[in-house]
């Protein structure tokens, strides 16, 4: 299959958000892209955003949570470098759907696709009513990512967010972009070395 660079002429990486109906996927993305919180109509099929991150373009795909679109979501997962598995912190069933419905969809994504588990609507959660414990969710997030190396990322691939207040939202995306995109700082010196290596033999040939 094609590499992420070849997959889309403009985008350098593709991330996708999956999760049950009405857990707040579109709200999470529009909070990150537009910085605002507005009510959204249910997404039909899928929606698409392009985010500038440093010198990179990242394609952010928003999928429809409704079960009838499951077939399409799998298609949209193709080539994704990272995925958000979103669930509503106040609804235990949405957490269970992640494992049952959405994780299999990611078979179409990259083999080393980072799966970030994100609990939404943190602002509505009362600690006393919590049904999914933080430890449990972290355990789950580590389990589904066990084939990839998480050591170079800061923290576990689990976040609790609120699109309403903006709490933790950009951290989720930064975390994923850090994983998907080579660090610019690291890339520069590598390029310089390549250039100098190429130049040296040429110059020695010329002098003969």
């Amino acid at each position: 299959m094609a590499t992420p660079a070849g997959a889309k002429k403009k985008a350098d990486a593709k991330v996708i958000i999956l999760g049950d109906y009405a857990v707040g996927k579109t709200s999470l993305i529009s909070r990150y892209i537009d910085g605002s919180f507005n009510p959204h109509e249910p997404t039909i099929g899928a929606a698409f955003f392009l985010k500038q991150w440093g010198s990179y373009n990242v394609a952010v795909w928003d999928t429809a949570g409704d079960e009838k679109y499951t077939g399409l979501s799998s298609f949209y997962c193709r080539n994704a470098g990272a995925a958000i598995l979103a669930f509503d912190l106040n609804t235990a069933s949405s957490y269970e759907s992640l494992w049952a419905r959405f994780l299999p969809l990611l078979d179409a994504a990259h083999e080393d696709c980072l799966k970030v588990v994100v609990g939404t609507k943190r602002d509505m959660l009362k600690e006393t009513d919590r049904e999914i414990s933080v430890d449990e969710a972290i355990e789950f997030s580590k389990e589904i990512n066990k084939n990839i190396d998480l050591s170079r990322l800061k923290g576990d691939p689990y976040f609790e967010t609120s699109a309403k207040s903006g709490y933790n939202v950009s951290r989720v995306f930064e975390y994923m972009f850090q994983y998907c995109l080579p660090d610019t700082k690291l890339q520069l010196p590598r390029d310089t070395i390549v250039v100098s290596n190429a130049a040296q033999p040429v110059s020695s040939r010329c002098s003969c």
């Binding site: 997959a7 593709k14 039909i44 099929g45 009838k68 679109y69 077939g71 399409l72 298609f75």
Partner: protein
């Protein structure tokens, strides 16, 4: 949703053989240039020539001509036909068999090559091979297979088969990728690598799968839930899905629109924002497709075309609906076919219209951007605000109008706050474009509008606007500023336009407190202005008023004239002094300015100033209860003046000073008269200020030679030791101090003469010791100097002897080195390097005339 992107126009209203009675219907068609082919349910292929003409009003009409028909004698419908103009053939699918007919006479191709078992076929729109007379065709077979063929004029070559998990019903091809709808899913097949990529599942029982190639390596598929899914040949999507209606029959694409037909409507969607733009009711449609950028539709018996409405019309429609963003997007992406310049011109006008729409909807940020990008004639905008245009302007809004706004009051419907918002917007916008290309030519309009806006809110920006390169017209703005009581700004504007008299008039009223303005900086500002004003008549007009207000400040009008101002008769110092007569403090300041700053060396001014100082001191002394410090200050001022200046009439002052027993002043004055003894006597006897006496000697001997200084100190000493003095004991101590002082200088012999015999050696020991040491030192230094001179003299003598020792033989053959003539005279010049010349030829004794060598000058002297 009201954009009108396409118009339905009948193309062939009565297809041959399709009367109401017959059951035959249109099954498929293809258009290739002017040729239109129709395949019918009763196995006929019909050929028409179709001509597109537009009538006088620009409406597109079609004229058709039947060219011929062919019955394939199979009693089956013609399922598919496709013209391949490169081969001069049409490919026909009938009874699951692909065969070829001649394009023009519809006769079967020679050889009769066929492909059997075909359910559907498609042409490769981006062929991989580079033979122009060869067409790549992909066929879906009844069995679970697709096959690839290349077709030439009379031959069909099988290239490759690819097996599938299920039979394919619809296929489309681009490059080396085939996109196929199978029974339960779509898939992408790469026939070069054999790779099969599953896309997504479909339910073919309830929906007709469609595969439409929209651009290079991109297909549009019908998905579940009435979605139109974009897929690239790599099996991924780059655009969000389209939402369209259920039961689609056909899909067409003319950039930037996707058209979708179901049994009731044709809907038009933009590929740019995925939104539906238009719905055209159309029942009984059978086929719709794009053919070389034209859309044709077939119902069962008729052919229609969807003619694109000119993009400008579409855009105007959108603008009329206030859908600016869509209008701009459409404009940018329209297939306009205009030259770049022409397009930009039109685009600008659309931006301008959009700008006014956003403006009227109070989307001011968007409006600002559009106003700027569209380079709106700024007058169009300003004229929306009542009374902001300069009254002299004869601006007319452009025809046809860019907008339908009467003015902002109408937009605001009387809401003050909204009007305010609009005004703020205008202010920001004008500030923003001021000095940029958009403002070119409209400086006056912009500045006047800004001035009026600033004046209304009393903005501090008002002054800089007026002061720096203002385009503000005086008459119109003056009235406005007056109404809003921005008096200072009005004055500044008058000043800017050269009406200084009016400006000063306003300022004087401001200073007097008749009128008020917070921006007015105060009296000092007026004084500064006057002091820089080159119109001296006007200066005189306001000088009196200013002096009455504040003498000391106002005198700056005369003293702080600009440096490069040419001297003028009206401001001659004498005239000014005469005028200032009534203002004593002012006159002092002015004289000080003349004497100390301008350093005018005129006895008259110096004396005048000295006298004024003296009078001041006298007045202070006469008055009761004046503090001593004040008197001291005044006197020290006087003394400084007396000391520094040499030009005043000493006798005049001295007379007065003596009368008043002003000893310190007298001492200075005597000093000026070189009557040092008198001066020092006053200092010593009257003032008993010995330090001052010593200082007097130093100050008065400054710039004179050492002896003068010695003399002064000697006079002082003799004053101290004056035998006639009764209280001379008192002066012994200062005398000794003077003798021992480091700064003094004495002729020791003379000192010893006047020192009283009664003094003990001990008293004088310090002085004597130093005197002896100094003399001794001097003696030794002189000795050394003498010896050194003697040595130098000896050296010179030696050189001279050496130079002369060598004999020089002169004869007639020896010529002068310069003029080359012989010597007739016995005297000649010999340079140290042996060059011999005439005396008159030796122009410089330090430079050899032949070699140019420089001889040391010090040695010669």
């Amino acid at each position: 949703m009201s954009i009108k992107a396409f118009e339905l126009v009948p193309a062939i209203e009565r297809v041959h053989r399709m009367s109401e009675k017959t059951k035959a219907q249109i099954e498929c068609m293809d258009v290739c240039g002017k040729n239109l082919y129709i395949g019918t349910t009763d196995c006929f292929v019909l050929h028409y020539m179709l001509e597109e003409r537009s009538n006088a009003s620009g409406k597109v009409l079609f004229h058709s001509n039947s060219q011929g028909q062919k019955h394939l004698a199979l009693k089956k419908p013609i399922a598919q036909l496709k013209a391949a103009s490169a081969l001069n053939r049409i490919l026909v699918l009938c009874d699951n068999t692909v065969s070829m007919l001649n394009m023009l006479d519809l006769e079967p191709a020679v050889g009769g090559a066929k492909i059997k078992g075909v359910t559907q076929f498609c042409l490769n729109e981006s062929p991989v091979g580079n033979n122009p007379f060869c067409v790549e065709v992909c066929v879906a077979l009844k069995k679970k297979q697709v096959a690839l063929y290349t077709i030439t004029e009379d031959r069909i070559n099988h290239v490759k088969d690819m097996s599938l998990p299920e039979p394919a019903s619809v296929i489309s091809m681009d490059g080396h990728v085939v996109c196929a709808a199978l029974l339960s899913q779509y898939c992408m097949l790469d026939y070069e690598t054999g790779q099969q990529t599953d896309l997504f599942p479909i339910d073919t029982e309830h929906m007709r799968p469609l595969v439409k190639r929209v651009s290079r390596e991109e297909f549009l598929l019908t998905g579940p839930s009435a979605l139109g899914m974009f897929v690239t040949s790599e099996g991924i999507s780059q655009r969000p899905p389209l939402q369209w209606s259920e039961n689609l029959i056909s899909v067409g694409y003319v950039h930037p629109y996707i058209l979708a037909m179901n049994d009731e409507f044709i809907t038009v969607h933009s590929i740019l924002d995925q939104q539906q733009k238009q719905a055209i009711p159309f029942q009984g449609g059978v086929i719709m497709n794009d053919y070389d950028g034209r859309i044709f539709i077939a119902s069962t018996k008729e052919i229609y075309s969807l003619v694109p409405v000119a993009w400008e019309k579409q855009v105007q429609g959108l603008l009329a609906d206030k859908r600016t963003q869509e209008a701009l997007d459409l404009t940018r992406n329209a297939n306009h076919g205009l030259t770049r310049d022409n397009f930009l011109k039109k685009f600008k006008r659309i931006q301008q219209q959009a700008a006014f729409i956003e403006f009227s909807r109070r989307n001011l940020a968007e409006a600002q951007e559009l106003f700027k990008n569209g380079q709106v004639d700024v007058r169009e905008l300003i004229s929306l605000y009542p009374r902001l245009m300069p009254s002299t302007s004869n601006f007319q809004r452009s025809v046809p109008g860019l907008h339908e706004i009467a003015d902002v009051n109408q937009l605001a419907r009387g809401d003050k706050q909204v009007v305010e918002e609009y005004k703020n917007f205008l202010r920001r916008y004008l500030e923003d474009i001021r000095g940029t290309v958009n403002a070119r030519g409209f400086k006056q309009e912009i500045d006047v509008a800004l001035l009026k806006l600033y004046a209304e809110i009393n903005s501090p920006e008002l002054l800089p606007l007026i002061e720096v390169d203002s385009g503000c017209d005086l008459k119109d703005c003056a009235e406005w500023l007056e109404n809003y009581e921005r008096h200072h700004s009005l004055a500044m504007l008058c000043k800017y336009h050269g009406d200084n008299d009016k400006a000063l008039n306003i300022w004087s009223r401001l200073v007097n407190g008749d009128i008020k303005d917070d921006l007015f900086p105060g009296f000092e500002f007026v004084v500064n202005f006057l002091s820089n004003l080159s119109d001296h008549d006007l200066v005189w007009k306001y000088v009196e008023w200013a002096l009455e207000k504040d003498q000391e400040l106002s005198i700056k009008i005369f003293t702080e004239r600009p440096a490069q101002e040419p001297p003028s008769e009206r401001l001659r110092p004498d005239t000014v002094i005469d005028y200032l007569h009534r203002y004593p403090r002012a006159v002092v300041s002015y004289l000080e300015y003349l004497v100390f700053q301008k350093k005018l060396e005129k006895e008259k001014y110096h004396t005048h100033l000295a006298v004024l100082y003296l009078e001041n001191v006298l007045n202070l002394m006469k008055a009761n209860g004046v503090k001593k410090e004040h008197i001291d200050m005044a006197r020290s001022k006087l003394r400084t003046m007396l000391q520094v200046s040499n030009l005043y009439r000493v006798q005049l002052i001295l007379g007065k000073a003596k009368e008043q027993e002003m000893h310190a002043e007298c001492a200075i004055l005597y000093g000026k008269l070189e009557d040092h003894e008198k001066a020092l006597r006053i200092l010593v006897h009257q003032l008993r200020d010995y330090a001052a006496a010593e200082n007097y000697c130093i100050v008065n001997s400054e710039g004179r030679d050492l002896n003068y200084r010695k003399r002064l100190f000697h006079i002082l000493l003799s004053v101290y030791l004056d035998p006639a003095n009764e209280k001379k004991e008192l002066l012994v101590e200062p005398a000794i101090d003077l003798l021992n002082s480091n700064v003094t200088d004495f002729d020791v012999a003379k000192v010893i003469q006047i020192i009283p015999d009664t003094w003990s050696i001990a008293m004088l020991s310090l002085f004597l010791r130093r005197a002896v040491r100094t003399n001794m030192h001097g003696n030794r230094m002189t000795h050394i100097e003498r010896m050194m001179s003697r040595g130098e003299n000896l050296l010179v003598k030696q050189t001279s002897i050496e130079d002369m020792r060598e004999a020089i033989v002169m004869n007639e053959e020896k010529p002068c080195a310069v003029c080359n003539r012989t010597f007739s005279d016995p005297s000649f010049v010999r340079y140290p390097n042996g060059v011999i010349t005439h005396i008159h030829c030796a122009k410089n004794k330090h430079v050899c005339p032949v070699t140019g060598k420089l001889f040391s000058t010090s040695k010669q002297s």
